[in-house]
């Protein structure tokens, strides 16, 4: 308890009672107690003056070269360190190939058409698997986030599934589906779907409660609430879930391709990696790793990065971030 609370209450209204005393009625007194403007035109003018004083002028966006040059510089530095390490000759050249060896190997593989084939096969599978995962996970996630008993029942299971490495499903999938594309897709689904669902649920959990109340007041039905209010409000979290879902499906895909080779399963990047291992050709292995990495980076830069930036900028959430 504060020692002396009452005077605080006493002090403030004094200013108001002073004004009460000066009861000298005059025409057009511009005090807050009476009408302050002298008509609709006057009001409109004052308001537009305030509006132009208070609202942001929109800044034009220029191409920011540091965004392009800095990552390239970082890449060059890393390659130089790699080359320097190799030229020290601490390890046998066939165990630790230099950047040029890997580049040569990449050229050879390109000539054989293996780069194109494996990147295309994996990318196609990754994208198809991911799109199907999104189509399954989105309604399920919304349902779980909106219906409390379902959430209580299945929430822990979905979180658990996210922790379980999806590689663990490979043996089961091979037994069930044999060496077919179904195996690969199954593993991708088990990796991507739980993480998209979780992203969506946590996105929904972070919605300010005010938005739901606005939706209710505006008379939204349950479905309208989910589609017009909850989903767009949860979009930043949902996008985070999608990004993670993509990462999980790409990783699961590689794991499945490395383990499940042969049968009717086509030749993907994981298969290339496994081939390199069987031939003990480190340059092929490195080339495959770099390709897997490059696809991941490109998808982030060309797809998720721009979408996320646009989303945050439109909501005014980008100011002050280091993006």
């Amino acid at each position: 308890m504060p020692s002396n609370p009452t005077p605080v209450v006493e002090e403030k209204p004094v200013a108001e009672s002073v004004e009460t005393g000066s009861a000298e009625p005059r025409e057009h007194v511009h005090a807050a107690l009476t009408r302050t403007s002298t008509g609709n035109e006057d009001l409109r003018e004052l308001e537009s003056g305030l509006d132009s004083l208070q609202s942001d002028t929109v800044r034009k966006h220029r191409i920011d070269w540091t965004r392009i040059l800095l990552p390239i510089a970082a890449l060059v530095v890393l390659v130089l360190i790699w080359q320097f390490y190799v030229s020290l000759g601490l390890k046998r050249r066939d165990q630790v190939p230099g950047p040029l060896d890997v580049l040569n190997q990449m050229g050879v593989l390109w000539g054989e058409g293996k780069v194109q084939e494996s990147v295309w096969t994996s990318l196609q599978r990754g994208i198809v698997g991911f799109v199907i995962s999104v189509a399954i996970a989105t309604p399920v996630g919304l349902l779980l986030a909106q219906v409390a008993p379902l959430r209580r029942a299945f929430g822990p299971l979905i979180s658990g599934l996210q922790v379980l490495p999806s590689v663990a499903w490979v043996p089961a999938a091979i037994i069930w589906f044999g060496l077919t594309d179904a195996t690969v897709y199954f593993v991708v689904f088990m990796g991507a779907i739980p993480s998209i669902i979780n992203g969506l649920i946590s996105g929904v959990d972070q919605i300010p409660p005010q938005y739901r109340r606005v939706g209710t007041v505006l008379g939204a039905s349950r479905l309208q609430m989910a589609l017009q209010v909850i989903l767009p409000a949860a979009l930043p979290g949902y996008l985070g879930g999608l990004k993670q879902g993509w990462a999980f499906s790409w990783r699961s895909l590689m794991a499945a391709e490395i383990i499940a080779v042969g049968g009717t399963i086509g030749f993907g990047l994981g298969s290339l990696l496994d081939q390199g291992r069987q031939l003990s050709d480190m340059a092929v292995v490195m080339a495959a790793i770099l390709l897997i990495l490059a696809v991941g980076i490109l998808i982030e830069l060309l797809v998720f990065g721009p979408i996320e930036k646009r989303l945050l900028r439109r909501r005014g959430l980008l100011a002050g971030s280091t993006r």
Binding site: V9, T20, V29, T34, E47, L50, Q54, S55, R213, L235
Partner: protein, 241 residues
């Protein structure tokens, strides 16, 4: 009578009642200011009238089509532009697509924001946001409009302007407005009737009529403000130890 409150009571969990035996009648087309100290249950009462919360005792009569609501913070959806926010309200009300655009523009012009329709909430000033929010609540097209301290966070000049604006719109549209505030001047400036809500428990303890003379005569309005302020202070002092 659009709103009738009879012996309304509300308690959260098993704490002390927040509202107890609230009685009020609000007529069609009336502008009622609901005044009370911070934390006395004004928002709770408004939420009950809006149907966002249920009373624990008593009965209330509200229009069957519900009420439009304007929140203290504008509560606009940040992923929509000003116009789209208004259009969403129209859409959820069932207005057809073709009509929505014209109606939204009309409402934007009503709050003097015809040119700012394509801006997003974060690009607008606080006062502009509240005007969009007002336009959105008008888009709901309900006879009853509930306002929960909508101008509390604004600077004095903007607030004075919005008072004029709100009065104009009230006269143009003939809405019934219940306006919650903890600011005595605001209550006197806007309300035709000022209801004072006591604190712990909240109950309508007194009411004053504000006439057209008070709108133009600062001295008269000042006097009334003084009287109401004194009564409010008395109410607050009751809780001092």
């Amino acid at each position: 009578m659009p709103v009738v409150l009879e012996h309304l009571g509300k308690r959260f969990g098993d704490g002390a009642p927040v509202l107890d035996d609230v009685n009020a009648n609000i007529g069609r087309g009336e502008f009622v200011a609901l005044l009370g100290a911070s934390g006395c249950g004004k928002s709770t009462l408004l939420n009950i009238i809006a149907g966002l919360e249920a009373p624990t005792s008593g009965a209330l009569e509200v229009p069957s089509d519900g009420a439009a609501f304007m929140f203290q913070d504008a509560a606009l959806f940040p992923w929509l532009t000003a116009r789209e926010n208004i259009e969403l309200a129209l859409k959820l009300r069932g207005v057809g697509k073709a009509e929505r655009r014209a109606k939204a523009q009309e409402l934007l012009e009503l709050v003097h924001l015809g040119a700012a329709g394509d801006k997003r909430p974060h690009e607008l000033s606080g006062g502009m946001r509240q005007r969009v929010s007002l336009a959105r609540s008008l888009a709901q097209d309900r006879q009853l409009l509930l306002m929960d301290e909508p101008f509390a966070a604004l600077d004095a000049i903007t607030r004075d302007l919005l008072h004029d604006e709100l009065e104009r719109i009230w006269k143009e549209t003939g809405r019934t407005i219940v306006f919650v505030t903890h600011n005595v001047r605001e209550a006197v400036r806007l309300g035709q009737r000022v209801l004072l809500l006591s604190s712990r428990p909240g109950r309508v303890v007194q009411e004053w009529a504000v006439t057209e003379e008070h709108r133009t005569d600062a001295g008269l309005a000042g006097q009334l403000t003084g009287v109401i302020t004194a009564r409010l202070r008395e109410e607050i002092r009751r809780h001092a130890k």
